[in-house]
């Protein structure tokens, strides 16, 4: 909650009535807002002429943008244009952007959920019927055991992390599976410090032990699931003794962890990018789902599966259908249900699967994609295989970037449209526990910056012939018609504490715990998942495994947090975390500049020695323009969700 008063400037307080954080904030809450008032905010529309940005009026910018888009569509067809939406923007804006894409005839609409939780959507929709957290943040207080895998919760979802810390201090069980010794790992009952990319082997082995010890929930399996015998057959191969050679986990430790997870119920399973950002990301998610189902931890308070969302509105932007394979509400693009949108939007719609984020840049390289319209994304920092992104962008006829700052990506655009921040616009966000929450206008925008929905609305009218929306509320009213799970939500009833979807006639107050009686697909599906190694492995030339991610202080490509004084001071420069012994061995001292090379590229960065990371593994955060770790990440995609493997990259360190 941000309080503006004339005398006091801005003041951020935790809203004590909020069920999400109960009024508690992390450092980004307290200190993370200065970017909003930065002198570097974009204030006017800009169009590039002879390599230089020139300030133009909104009318000129909108007319030129629309005309150029229309010309490209006319010449090359609608699939020559692609849209990148944003999990930082509101539901209304995401809905509007995907609608524009589809109305002009293309499913080339995607956003950063592709790079974080597309495996969650794909995996959990397949096994449970809903790609979302099954419980609420509050319900974590009723867990007896937390199983945290691939999530540095106290740094990435600090307030959820504090629930676990408090639970642990009260004596609850905490099993942490992570290659790094995270803060939660330090206080865990058991820390399974396994090798990166071996999640499926680890999870299968845990389930192997559960079956071996007859600790599975037989009643739940019988009544609520299908596919058990096939799963049992697959799991038989994963005895802890065999799996130790893959994961590096001692059998006894693994057995003990498995017993706690299965016996000390309810158990909540929390995961994040450590699970999803792999070539087998979707399979990792389905393995987690297997574990939840096998132990009967779904549909019960204190149990459940919690994919922790890394941006304010990843759940919402995915719900809105800003994804190339789904219309709003996860209606597959090739299904008959698309008719619903043809009626709602009054025109024929495309039913071919569109391009995903990384495929868009490939298509730009091969020349089939001519224009990309990016809203609030910075792929030149965040996408895997940056050199391909660069080549793709170079090849485009038109790049439109709508943002609040001149990001690296905006810098190479043909048109830059100045947008407003979330403190300057109205709309809704849907958080990690499916809670639809309202945001309100707190501040005036600088210069001529306009809300994203307004800009899209103007483009939609001109390019797609869309009827004009008066305000975000009128878009939300349409969302209620488009997505049944949102049908019962109104701007009035979700304010101020929000409500969790599904919210509809049957659940007017929303739904805290999913799947209590049945799954949307009937029975939960147990899916046998064979272990496959990660795409990249070490060899004599590339002898370290690098994992990438965020740190506590920065958010994503740093566009906002690096313009925020205290956050930038805490983490001012790029670095690589190296195990202290490894650093000694290769002769690198703390703060020394070294080169990291992968099979895809190289960067320079500073050494930070630590004992929190095991030998043979290095960690590099991706926030920094000046040393983009995604130059090193290859384009190894999960075939099911198309997420790149950001978590396992073979590298060598050159001192």
């Amino acid at each position: 909650m941000v309080i503006p008063t004339q005398a006091s400037g801005e003041r951020v307080i935790g809203y004590s009535k909020s069920p999400v954080n109960e009024g508690k904030l992390c450092l980004k809450g307290y200190s993370g807002l200065s970017y909003n008032f930065s002198k570097e905010r974009l204030k006017y529309p800009l169009i590039k002429r002879n390599g230089e940005f020139v300030r133009v009026s909104w009318e000129a910018a909108l007319t030129e943008t629309s005309n150029r888009l229309k010309k490209i569509i006319k010449e090359y067809g609608p699939d020559s244009v692609a849209f990148q939406s944003s999990a930082k923007c509101t539901n209304e804006e995401n809905y509007l952007m995907q609608k524009i894409a589809r109305v002009i005839g293309t499913n080339n609409i995607d956003h950063c959920a592709r790079s974080c939780h597309s495996p969650t959507a794909m995996g959990l929709i397949t096994t449970l019927g809903a790609g979302a957290a099954t419980g609420s943040i509050n319900s974590l207080d009723d867990s007896k055991t937390y199983f945290v895998i691939g999530s540095n919760t106290t740094e990435q979802h600090p307030i959820i992390g504090t629930r676990i810390i408090k639970g642990r201090k009260k004596g609850k069980n905490l099993i942490v599976a992570d290659p790094r010794k995270t803060q939660l790992a330090e206080i865990a009952s058991i820390h399974l410090q396994f090798n990166p990319g071996t999640d499926v082997a680890l999870l299968n082995s845990i389930m192997h032990v559960i079956l071996e010890e007859n600790l599975e929930d037989t009643k739940f399996i019988e009544e609520r699931t299908e596919g058990f015998s096939a799963l049992r057959q697959e799991l038989a191969k994963y005895s802890p003794e065999i799996v130790e050679g893959i994961t590096g986990i001692e059998p006894e430790k693994l057995r003990e962890a498995a017993k706690i997870i299965a016996k000390e119920k309810p158990t909540s399973i929390l995961y994040a990018m450590g699970i999803t950002q792999h070539v087998h990301g979707t399979e990792n998610v389905m393995s987690i789902s297997n574990l939840g189902l096998l132990t009967g931890n779904l549909g019960v308070r204190g149990g459940g599966i919690f994919p922790l969302r890394g941006q304010n509105n990843v759940q919402g932007s995915s719900d809105m259908g800003a994804l190339s394979e789904w219309y709003p509400g996860y209606i597959p693009v090739n299904s008959d249900s698309v008719k619903r949108f043809e009626i709602l939007w009054k025109r024929g719609l495309p039913t071919n699967t569109g391009l995903t984020l990384s495929e868009m840049f490939d298509a730009a390289v091969d020349g089939s994609l001519k224009a990309i319209y990016i809203m609030g994304e910075n792929p030149l920092v965040t996408e895997a295989a940056i050199s391909d992104v660069e080549k793709g962008i170079e090849n485009l006829e038109l790049l439109i970037v709508q943002d609040i700052f001149m990001t690296l990506t905006a810098g190479v655009a043909d048109v830059v449209l100045p947008a407003t921040t979330s403190l300057e616009k109205e709309g809704t966000f849907t958080n990690t526990e499916r809670r639809i929450q309202k945001v309100n206008v707190i501040y005036d925008s600088p210069g001529e910056a306009m809300p994203d929905w307004w800009i899209l609305n103007e483009i939609g009218k001109r390019v797609g012939g869309l009827e004009s929306y008066d305000n975000p509320r009128s878009i939300f009213e349409e969302i209620r018609k488009a997505i049944p799970n949102y049908s019962g939500a109104t701007y009035e009833n979700i304010y101020p504490t929000g409500k969790q979807w599904p919210i509809n006639k049957d659940n007017p107050d929303g739904t805290e715990i999913l799947h209590t009686k049945s799954f949307p697909i009937g029975k939960g599906k147990l899916v046998p998942i064979p272990y496959r190694p990660p795409a990249e492995v070490t060899d004599a030339n590339y002898d370290f495994i690098m994992t990438t991610g965020r740190n506590y202080y920065h958010f994503h490509s740093g566009t906002m947090s690096r313009r925020t004084d205290v956050l930038e001071r805490e983490s001012p420069e790029p670095y690589v975390e190296i195990n202290t012994e490894d650093a000694k061995r290769i002769g690198a001292r703390n703060s020394q500049k070294i080169t990291i090379e992968s099979r895809h590229g190289s960067i320079e960065t500073k050494v930070k020695t630590t004992d929190k990371i095991p030998a043979g593994i290095v960690f590099v955060p991706f926030h920094f323009d000046e040393s983009r770790v995604n130059r090193l990440v290859g384009k190894n995609l999960d075939p099911l969700s198309k997420i790149p493997e950001f978590k396992v990259v073979a590298v060598r360190l050159v001192v």
């Binding site: 006091s8 307290y30 201090k169 206080i187 506590y552």
Partner: protein, 296 residues
């Protein structure tokens, strides 16, 4: 009170504690009857030290009156004064032009421990207001006496009697001598560090914390509230001399209970309990006071 409020509002921009969406915050108020007597969600430090402000040009500030601050929060400014008043021109300019009308709580609040530091009746104030039924008792400093010219002056012991009653209801913690008892190598600091997520709530919510960081933004030089539990705080060329989080957490308590006591002869704490209420992992400053350090 309304009469005095009207008189004051002729000379000052008036602010007060008001309820919005279930939280008590500070905003403009047009009458004393609009002022909430509930404790605000936060200590309103930003009236004197904004969370983020320009420090290149010293602006002449408007005269501001703030109604409804609670004694514990107001006391924070009097403690801050000892360190920054007269030295920090931005703070000083606002401090001199701001009138605070503080409410004395009639009952102890849940968790608060103000009686450990003298209780809610302050001996320094601008207007100190204590409700008794429908009636208000007001203590007025000389500076603002003129606004209460026509009111009955009462001598006597009403306030001191109230204070004694209040402090006997809320037993003070054994603060006295904490600067000698507290232990450098106590296991407390490591225990706290294992749970702390470095959010800074204990600093940002504290009515006595005044540290800030300086930075440049375009053609402006700004400062922003800072937190001593962060590793970049008071960083030198060798980094923060308190390398680990447990050392930084200890520093915060030592500053409040040892160093400030030694240099200013008072503790840098008002017993407001805000750092406890807003700590997401339940670190309790009261434990630092009551902990049996001899046991270790």
């Amino acid at each position: 009170m309304e009469t005095a409020f009207i008189a004051i509002s002729r000379d000052f921009q008036t602010y007060g504690a008001v309820e919005r969406d279930g939280e008590v915050i500070f905003d403009r108020v047009a009458g004393f009857d609009q002022v909430s007597e509930e404790r605000s969600r936060y200590a309103p430090k930003e009236f004197l030290m904004k969370r983020n402000e320009n420090v290149l040009i010293l602006n002449v500030e408007n005269k501001t009156a703030v109604f409804g601050i609670k004694s514990c929060d107001l006391k924070g400014f009097y403690l801050m004064d000892k360190q920054v008043f007269g030295k920090d021109p931005f703070y000083t300019e606002k401090r001199e032009k701001t009138l605070f009308a503080n409410f004395v709580c009639s009952e102890p609040c849940s968790g608060g421990f103000c009686s450990s530091f003298g209780g809610p009746v302050l001996d320094q104030y601008d207007l100190q207001i204590l409700r008794e039924g429908e009636k208000f008792h007001v203590m007025v400093s000389e500076k603002y006496d003129r606004y209460f010219g026509e009111f009955k002056k009462e001598a006597g012991t009403f306030y001191s009697d109230f204070s004694n009653r209040f402090n006997s209801k809320l037993e003070p913690l054994p603060v006295e001598g904490i600067e000698r008892r507290i232990k450098w190598n106590s296991e407390l600091w490591k225990e706290y560090a294992s749970a702390c997520i470095s959010c800074g709530a204990c600093n940002f919510e504290c009515p006595t914390c005044y540290c800030f960081d300086l930075y440049d933004d375009g053609n402006e030089r700004k400062r922003e509230w800072d937190s001593c539990i962060l590793s970049g705080f008071t960083s030198s060329s060798a980094g923060n001399i308190r390398k680990d989080l447990d050392e930084r957490l200890r520093q915060r308590f030592y500053h409040k209970f040892v160093y400030f006591k030694k240099s200013k002869d008072t503790y840098l704490c008002t017993g407001c309990n805000r750092c406890v209420e807003d700590c997401p992992v339940g670190i309790d400053i009261k434990e630092v006071i009551t902990y049996d350090y001899n046991r270790e």
